[in-house]
C-alpha cells in the first residue's frame, strides 16, 4: 500500500512546504487576526488589474474599434453618443458576462478540485457541464425555445446533475475519489444523452445546439449580467467565509474533525455553492471548456501557496476568459469563432502539460 494518504506537500518540493509558514499576521484592535500572505495578495491585485485592463481592451475591440482612452471616458460617462451606445449597450454587458462567468467558473473549479483533492476534478470533467448542456439541449431540441428558456434549462440541468452526483457519491459521507468516479459515470451518461438529442434534432436546431455547446459570449446583454451578479454577490462571500474549513479539509477528514471543522456540512455547503456558480455560468455563456480546470491550477502556480487559493482562482478565471475572448476576436474577426473554441484549444494543450508534470510530481 504505497502512497496512500500522501500529504498535500510533496517531499521533493521543499519550497511548497516552507510556504505554509509564509505570510504576516495582521491583528486588529478588536482582537481579530488575519494572516496576510504578501505574494498571494500581490497576485490577486495583479490579476484584478489584468482583468480590468483586458476588459477595457476588449470593449475597444470589434468591427468599430475604440481607443482605450475613449473607452474609459465613455465608461465614466463623458463619451459621445455613438460610442456610448456601443460601449454601454453592446460591449460592456458582454464583457461583464465574461468577467462574471470566468469568476464563477474559476471559483467553482477551485472548490471542486479542493473537495475532490485532484487537479483534474473540475466541474467540467465531472459531468456538471454536460448535465447543464443536457438541460439546454432538451429546450433547444424538443421545444426550439427562446434564449431565456435555454438559460433556464441549463440552470436546471446543472443543478439536477450536481444533486445527482452528490447523492450517488454519498455513503456515510462524500469521499473525494467516489465523487470523482461517480462524476465520471454521470458525465458519460449525460454525454450520451446530449449525443442522442443532437441526432434527434433537425439540422437547424442541431447547429444551434452545437454552437451553444461550445460556449460563447456573442450577443450577451444586461439580462444575463444581473442574475449572475446577484448570485456572485451572495455566494462569493459565503464561499470565502468557509475557506478556512476547506483548507483544513485538504489534510483529510479525520484531522479536520479533530480541529473542529464540521466536515460534511462545510462540504455540502461549498459543493452547493460550486454547483450553483458553475450552473449559472454555464447557463449564461454555455459550457466554456477548461476555464474551471486551468484557472485554479494557474493561480496555484502563481501564488505558490498550498490550499484552495479561492480568490486568485476566481480572478484568474475572469482574466482567462476575457483574454481568450479578445484573442479569438483578434485572430479570427469579430464573432467568428466562439470563445469556447479558444479556451478548448488552450485548455487541451495545458491539460497535456499538466498530465505530464503531475505525473512527474507523483500526483497522477
Amino acid at each position: 500500500m504505497k502512497d496512500t494518504n500522501k500529504p498535500a506537500v510533496h517531499p521533493d518540493r521543499p519550497a511548497a512546504r516552507k510556504s505554509t509558514l509564509r505570510g504576516r499576521t495582521v491583528r486588529t484592535a478588536g482582537g481579530l487576526s488575519v494572516r496576510l500572505d504578501p505574494r498571494t495578495f500581490t497576485v490577486v491585485v495583479l490579476l484584478v488589474v489584468a482583468a480590468l485592463f483586458a476588459s477595457v481592451v476588449l470593449i475597444g475591440t470589434g468591427d468599430f474599434p475604440i481607443p482605450a482612452a475613449d473607452v474609459l471616458k465613455t465608461l465614466v460617462g463623458n463619451g459621445d453618443a455613438g460610442q456610448e451606445f456601443i460601449v454601454t449597450e453592446l460591449r460592456l454587458p458582454r464583457v461583464l458576462v465574461g468577467l462574471l462567468v470566468g469568476l464563477s467558473l474559476g471559483l467553482g473549479g477551485a472548490l471542486f478540485q479542493s473537495v475532490s483533492r485532484n487537479p483534474l476534478g473540475s466541474p467540467d470533467v465531472l459531468g456538471l457541464a454536460q448535465g447543464a448542456t443536457a438541460g439546454a439541449l432538451v429546450v433547444i431540441v424538443l421545444t426550439s425555445g427562446s434564449a431565456t428558456a435555454v438559460t433556464g434549462g441549463a440552470l436546471v440541468g446543472g443543478l439536477v446533475t450536481g444533486l445527482l452526483i452528490y447523492l450517488l457519491a454519498w455513503k456515510r459521507g462524500v469521499h473525494g475519489y467516489r465523487l470523482v468516479l461517480v462524476g465520471i459515470g454521470v458525465n458519460a451518461i449525460a454525454t450520451a444523452v446530449n449525443g442522442y438529442l443532437i441526432t434527434k434534432a433537425d439540422l437547424v436546431d442541431a447547429a444551434r445546439a452545437v454552437n451553444w455547446m461550445v460556449g460563447s459570449l456573442n450577443g450577451r446583454d444586461w439580462e444575463q449580467v444581473w442574475p449572475l451578479l446577484a448570485l456572485c454577490v451572495v455566494l462569493v462571500p459565503l464561499v470565502l467565509g468557509n475557506a478556512r474549513g476547506l483548507r483544513m479539509m485538504e489534510m483529510g477528514d479525520d484531522v479536520s474533525y479533530a480541529l473542529g471543522v464540521r466536515v460534511e456540512r462545510v462540504r455540502l455547503l461549498l459543493m452547493l455553492a460550486a454547483v450553483l456558480l458553475t450552473a449559472a455560468a454555464t447557463a449564461a455563456a454555455g459550457p466554456v471548456a477548461f476555464v474551471a480546470l486551468t484557472a485554479p491550477q494557474l493561480a496555484r502556480r502563481l501564488t505558490g501557496s498550498p490550499g484552495p487559493n479561492l480568490l486568485p482562482s476566481a480572478f484568474m478565471g475572469a482574466t482567462l476568459l476575457i483574454v481568450a475572448d479578445w484573442a479569438s476576436q483578434r485572430a479570427f474577426g469579430a464573432d467568428q469563432l466562439p470563445v469556447g473554441v479558444v479556451t478548448g484549444i488552450l485548455g487541451g494543450v495545458y491539460l497535456l502539460w499538466l498530465l505530464v508534470t503531475e505525473r512527474r510530481a507523483g500526483r497522477i
Binding site: T4, H175, V180, V214, G340
Partner: protein, 348 residues
C-alpha cells in the same frame, strides 16, 4: 481511509483446477455461444419494419430481392458488424484491465475511443478521406496516441484507477471539444458526424465489414493468445519476471492488440463506451481471475451486450431508433456507478 490506493495485486490461484470445474466452464462457454446465436437472430428479426419469422427465413436462405429480403440483408450486415465490434471492445477492455491492473479500464473511459474518433473526423474533414479502409489507419493512429499517453501516465508509481480514469475523462473532454469545434465550423460535417460520433451500427455495410475484418481478426487472435502471459503480468512485475514471463513483449503486444481492436471498432461504428468495462466484470464474477477463461468469455458475451443494446434501441424508439452507443452508455453508466459504490472495487 481507503482513498486512492494502488491496485491490489490480483491473486491468481494457480489452481490445479479440477477437471470438473473445467468442464463446467467449458459448458458455460457453450451456453454463452447459444445465447449469442439467439441474440443475433433477434437482431435480424426485430426492427422498425416488422417481419414474420417466415420472411426472415426467406431473406436469409432464399434471397430473391423482395423488400423483406433487402431488410433482412441490411440487418444481417448490421448484426455481423455488431458481433465483430462487440467482441473487439470487450476483448480490448479485458486486456486493458489486465495490463494496467485497473478494474476501471475501458477503451471508452480511458479516452482511447475518443482519440480514434478525433483522428477519424480529422481525416474526413481535412484530408477528404471517405472510405473506412482509408480512415481506419487514422483511427489506429489516434487510438495509439491516446493509448500511449494513458500508458505513460499509468506507468507512474502513484497511478491509481481513479486517477487514470480521471485523466482519461479529461482527455476525452478535450478531444470531444475538438470534434465540436470541427462541427460548428462545417455544417456538412455536422450533418454527417452527429450520427457517427454517438456510436451506431446503423450505417453498417458489407463493404465496411470487409474493410475492418482483417484488423479485427488479427487483433482478436493476438489478444486470445496473450491470456497466459497476461496472467503472469497480473501477479505483479517481480513475480511475473520470476515466472519467466517476457514483460516488455507481453505489454507491447497487449497494447498493440487493444489499440487495433478498439481503433478498428471505432472506425467502423463510432465511439462506444462501457462495453469493455462491464463485460469483463460480469465474466470475472463467475470465472475468477484466470484470463484464459475471461478472454474467451468476453469475446462471446460482449457482442451479446452490444447486439442486445442495439435491439433494445430499436424496440424502445419505434418507428425510429436509439443509437447503440447511447444505449450502452445509459445502461453502463449506472453499472459503473454501482461498481464504484461497491466497497471492494472502491478499495482496488
Amino acid at each position: 481511509m481507503i482513498v486512492d490506493s494502488p491496485p491490489e495485486h490480483r491473486t491468481v490461484t494457480p489452481t490445479a483446477a479440477s477437471p470438473k470445474r473445467h468442464a463446467i466452464r467449458a459448458a458455460g462457454l457453450l451456453v454463452s455461444l447459444g445465447i449469442l446465436v439467439l441474440v443475433a437472430l433477434a437482431s435480424i428479426a426485430i426492427g422498425a419494419k416488422e417481419l414474420s419469422l417466415e420472411q426472415v427465413w426467406h431473406g436469409l436462405f432464399h434471397d430473391t430481392g423482395t423488400y423483406g429480403d433487402v431488410v433482412v440483408g441490411e440487418r444481417l450486415s448490421r448484426t455481423v458488424l455488431g458481433l465483430l465490434a462487440g467482441a473487439a471492445l470487450g476483448l480490448s477492455g479485458a486486456v486493458l484491465q489486465a495490463l494496467t491492473r485497473n478494474p476501471l479500464a475501458d477503451p471508452g473511459l480511458l479516452g482511447i475511443n475518443a482519440g480514434a474518433s478525433a483522428a477519424v473526423v480529422t481525416a474526413i474533414t481535412f484530408f477528404g478521406v471517405t472510405s473506412v479502409s482509408g480512415y481506419v489507419w487514422f483511427a489506429f493512429l489516434g487510438a495509439a496516441a491516446v493509448g500511449a499517453l494513458v500508458w505513460f501516465l499509468g506507468g507512474s508509481r502513484s497511478a491509481t484507477p481513479v486517477r487514470l480514469a480521471l485523466a482519461g475523462t479529461a482527455i476525452s473532454a478535450a478531444l470531444y471539444g475538438y470534434l465540436q469545434a470541427v462541427m460548428i465550423m462545417d455544417n456538412a460535417a455536422l450533418g454527417k458526424m452527429r450520427f457517427w460520433t454517438v456510436g451506431s451500427l446503423a450505417s453498417a455495410t458489407d463493404e465496411t465489414i470487409k474493410q475492418v475484418l482483417p484488423f479485427l481478426l488479427v487483433g482478436t487472435v493476438v489478444a486470445l493468445f496473450l491470456a497466459r502471459p497476461l496472467n503472469a503480468v497480473a501477479m505483479g512485475d517481480d513475480t511475473a519476471r520470476a515466472l519467466g514471463a517476457n514483460l516488455n513483449r507481453t505489454r507491447a503486444l497487449s497494447m498493440a492488440a487493444a489499440t487495433v481492436l478498439c481503433g478498428a471498432a471505432t472506425a467502423a461504428c463510432g465511439p462506444i463506451v462501457f462495453v469493455g468495462l462491464m463485460i469483463p466484470h460480469v465474466v470475472r464474477s463467475f470465472t475468477g481471475p484466470d484470463l484464459r477463461w475471461i478472454l474467451p468469455y468476453a469475446t462471446i458475451l460482449s457482442p451479446v451486450l452490444l447486439l442486445g443494446a442495439d435491439v433494445l434501441g430499436r424496440i424502445v424508439a419505434r418507428p425510429s431508433e436509439i443509437q447503440v452507443g447511447i444505449v450502452t452508455a445509459v445502461l453502463g453508466g449506472p453499472v459503473f456507478i454501482f461498481l464504484v459504490r461497491r466497497r471492494r472495487t472502491a478499495q482496488l
